[in-house]
């Protein structure tokens, strides 16, 4: 094997084992490298040149990023689930602080509140994608990206609103000031996108696990939350402040229950991972 070939397979192995613990990466690297060598030798025996055999063996292995994602989903799941369990508790705590009037209505308060929500949702979506891929063989990557995009737009709009003028936040639609239309449109887009993607995500899981004691109630709450936040966004954007407030309170309540359910799911998933034979080895 030539030096460029060795460098190329090394790069492939680096990508496929990135993000794994040192011990797991070493074992996986050795296993994948042996696979590559077996394929390389087979192609050589069939009469291919060294270069042809190298490229054919690499092509058989496929995209190293796909292998790497699968490896991380399998081996880093426990840590991800513990972090996600803690992250999903953050939302109900923030809502309680908000309802108790403990969140300051200024840009710092908005940064903390929306920043924490944004980070925790991103963590939860990543863990949810791993959980559904490994346990239900369900690919919800684009659905989780859509939820993350919706939350990002809503959270960043909220922070921008407070940064420019906290009075905007009382009710966008009723505030006849410059940029109000931009915030209205941004908030409405984010809320509707979040709502649609929550329904999209919930329905996908419900189809695969229609009677699961874990997933069924959570999917129903995800779909309900989707409708509530979309309706809240629409009424808020149209200046129907009272209706928007009622819908937001309902969303806070349902979404807090939804997050507590996810805390339990991630907790049990992490406990299950910690008892697996691979972890004990």
């Amino acid at each position: 094997m030539t030096t460029p070939q060795q460098q190329e397979i090394d790069r492939w192995l680096d990508t496929a084992t990135r993000g794994l613990s040192r011990k797991t990466a070493r074992l996986a690297r050795q296993e994948l490298y042996t696979h590559y060598l077996d394929a390389f030798d087979t192609y050589r025996d069939e009469g291919k040149s060294s270069d042809e055999a190298h490229h054919a063996a690499l092509a058989d292995l496929g995209d190293p990023r796909v292998t790497g994602t699968g490896m991380r989903d399998t081996h880093n799941a426990e840590r991800r689930y513990w972090i996600a369990a803690a992250a999903s508790l953050a939302y109900p705590i923030l809502v309680m602080l908000e309802l108790a009037g403990q969140m300051p209505y200024n840009v710092q308060g908005a940064l903390v509140y929306n920043g924490v929500i944004l980070v925790t949702v991103l963590i939860m979506m990543d863990a949810m994608r791993t959980l559904l891929a490994t346990r239900c063989n369900l690919n919800v990557r684009w659905r989780t990206y859509a939820v993350s995009a919706g939350v990002s737009i809503v959270a960043l709009t909220s922070i921008a609103v407070y940064a420019i003028n906290p009075l905007y936040a009382t009710c966008f639609g009723a505030t006849a000031v410059p940029l109000a239309e931009v915030f209205n449109a941004s908030w409405l887009t984010g809320a509707v996108l979040l709502g649609i993607s929550l329904v999209w995500l919930g329905e996908a899981v419900l189809r695969v696990r229609p009677s699961s004691i874990f997933f069924r109630p959570m999917c129903i709450f995800a779909i309900l939350n989707g409708y509530l936040i979309a309706a809240h966004g629409a009424t808020f954007g149209l200046g129907m402040c009272n209706a928007a407030s009622v819908l937001l309170l309902a969303f806070f309540f349902c979404n807090s229950i939804h997050h507590l359910m996810w805390t339990a799911v991630f907790y049990f998933a992490a406990r299950r991972e910690s008892r697996s034979p691979l972890q004990a080895a």
């Binding site: 696979h35 292995l61 796909v66 399998t74 697996s276």
Partner: protein, 108 residues
């Protein structure tokens, strides 16, 4: 014709291992050869699936040196045998139902 076998890969791996312990490269070759190339997949994706099955306790791994190379072999556990039987039954039920629809037979 090539078919995506993402959802069926664990069943196929368990079946190959029910014939005896084997390593990743041979498992991939067996699946491709026995399906005459119809069931095709990128072999790098085999390993996350193998590790996941090991994590679920359906297969177990051991190292064995062969031709100067240290290979990681896998074999079915007792739980793996039970899971394979259950998955086979599910698959037969599913493929039988599809066959009946394609043949236009009525179940009522």
């Amino acid at each position: 014709m090539r078919m995506n076998l993402k959802g069926s890969l664990p069943l196929l791996i368990l079946h190959v291992l029910s014939r005896g312990a084997n390593h990743g490269y041979q498992i991939a070759k067996r699946i491709k050869q026995q399906s005459e190339g119809v069931l095709d997949f990128k072999e790098g994706t085999l390993y996350p699936t193998l590790h996941n099955l090991e994590k679920q306790g359906l297969i177990e791994a051991f190292d064995h040196e062969e031709d100067g190379r240290m290979r990681r072999y896998y074999r079915l556990t007792q739980n793996g045998h039970a899971a394979l039987e259950a998955e086979r039954a599910n698959w037969k039920q599913f493929s039988g139902a599809v066959d009946r629809v394609l043949k236009g037979e009525s179940t009522s």
